[in-house]
Symmetry: C2
Subunit: 308 residues, 2 copies
């Protein structure tokens, strides 16, 4: 059975049903690729498609979806609260086992070259697939967003793409990369004051001295203050640790948490911290979870048989 | 790909390495059967083997292990703190999907007949596989344990087995059945007073007015007071709910929890309650867990492909 990798493709369209359906169809059109989740948000004006498949198939599915996005989305018309540089904004490949990272890097760079050449849009390789150290960090690539980059991509040598032309059409630019599992997680406050979300985001994120491996923005979504987060290593800062930090913050601001929201899926290991803590089982691992063990058998084909 | 069912076979041997290895080898000797876990305890003097496989293969693996147990374990020499009636004490088959319960019942009854006939030991069908209503409940079957049953099995019509002779040899009797997923979970107190564990067990178990779907015994294990539990429906009473109840009890007794212990594996769904509660995600399900989704694809072969 072929090993899967994951792709979590972010497109700058969260409103137009037809475009989102076309993106989904593009992913599903590749044999052996499985679309697991589509998360869309009207205010972010963004759709996140999570899919898995063998590396070459996943690459091909991403390529087809990027092509759809570049044809259907006009960045000059795009408004949304989430930072973005292009129609196919960010395309990360994610190893399902740590050993697959080199494969994800290779696939990301191959796809970047193909997209740059065939679709003629500027492509940055980011994360573990970055060629230049400055492109490791996605926030840096997105700095100034579509509007700024459109004016400056040719001028600023630092912002020249790895593949494709140093000019921006209506599809904008795209970042294609490889990274470890990441948890995209939003918390809504029972408040319509964006400032509350901004204050909390600033206090909890690593870049301003908060929790390690936490990125956070304060946004306004559906009339509610939202803290939009990426947890880049849940082994270092877990979902529960972030929630506890936010609970402390909201108390001080005298607001409260309304609800949370996952963007895409979470790895099983992300659930372990709570169980270890609350169940008094410090050694609990996914090896103790029935479905995880059966999944391993299905994956390996099972070599447990010993002839009598 | 063939569907698996689970078997959680309990044997009255937790000390003798050679016997435990022989039980494991018997399970592993059947093609397509996967031994996932062996939990052993010296004080319980018991080993619990968790394995999965296609129904017929799982039945055959259970049969071989029961045969080993009946040959190797002499109940007249057996001492342990956990109630038991025989060498192969309890053999439940467990559906991995609710729809498999009829299959598990069928397999249990076929195995019961085969064991009664070929190994000539008394067999009770229990749980969902019970023929008589009085045998639905395992505690009732085990009442008086091996020693009492040995004296009374022929005399007491109520205790006549479903298959095999109404007399007990050194292998004792066995209960073979079908049941839903059950969590076997022990909590150790930082105390050597068995009475503390007994008091807590009495206060939390359903049979004395405590939490629904919780069975509990207070035992002495490795010099520590242990609350040994079965959670028969974690959707009704979760691991976390039991822990919270025990935490309340220990405060009143002025002792504390030392640690917990799982016997066998837990279903993924048992982890959801904590995450829903603590992550502010009331709708979280196993569909949001990456590995669970990939497991489903592996299980079904994946029919997600749509030709362009």
């Amino acid at each position: 059975m072929k090993e899967f990798i994951e792709c979590v493709a972010n497109f700058s369209e969260g409103r137009n049903e037809v475009t989102i359906a076309a993106l989904q169809a593009a992913v599903r059109s590749v044999r052996e690729v499985h679309l697991l989740d589509t998360h869309r948000d009207v205010d972010h004006n963004r759709a996140v498609l999570t899919f898995v498949g063998p590396p070459e198939a996943a690459k091909w599915a991403a390529y087809r979806a990027i092509r759809v996005a570049c044809e259907a989305i006009d960045m000059n018309q795009h408004r949304g609260v989430h930072p973005r540089i292009g129609a196919a904004d960010v395309i990360p490949f994610v190893p399902l086992r740590a050993e697959q990272l080199p494969t994800c890097i290779e696939i990301a760079r191959e796809l970047a070259e193909q997209v740059g050449k065939e679709l003629e849009i500027p492509v940055y390789c980011y994360g573990a697939a970055a060629f230049a150290a400055r492109n490791r960090n996605l926030e840096r690539i997105r700095m100034g967003q579509y509007e700024w980059l459109k004016e400056n991509i040719a001028r600023d040598a630092d912002r020249h793409p790895d593949f494709g032309p140093a000019r921006m059409g209506p599809a904008g630019a795209t970042a294609i990369g490889a990274r470890g599992p990441l948890i995209a997680f939003n918390v809504y406050l029972a408040s319509s004051e964006t400032d509350h979300a901004r204050t909390i985001a600033r206090n909890i994120r690593q870049s301003s001295g908060g929790l390690p491996c936490v990125k956070a923005l304060g946004l306004m979504v559906g009339g509610q203050a939202q803290i939009s987060m990426n947890l880049t290593d849940h082994r270092i800062t877990s979902i529960s640790a972030v929630i506890r930090a936010i609970e402390n913050e909201v108390r001080q601001l005298q607001v409260c948490i309304d609800r949370a929201e996952l963007v895409g899926l979470v790895p099983l290991a992300a659930m372990m911290e709570d169980a270890r803590r609350h169940w008094h089982l410090p050694d609990l691992s996914s090896d103790h979870i029935l479905e995880a063990r059966i999944g391993q058998i299905r994956e390996t084909g099972g070599e447990d048989f010993i002839a009598e």
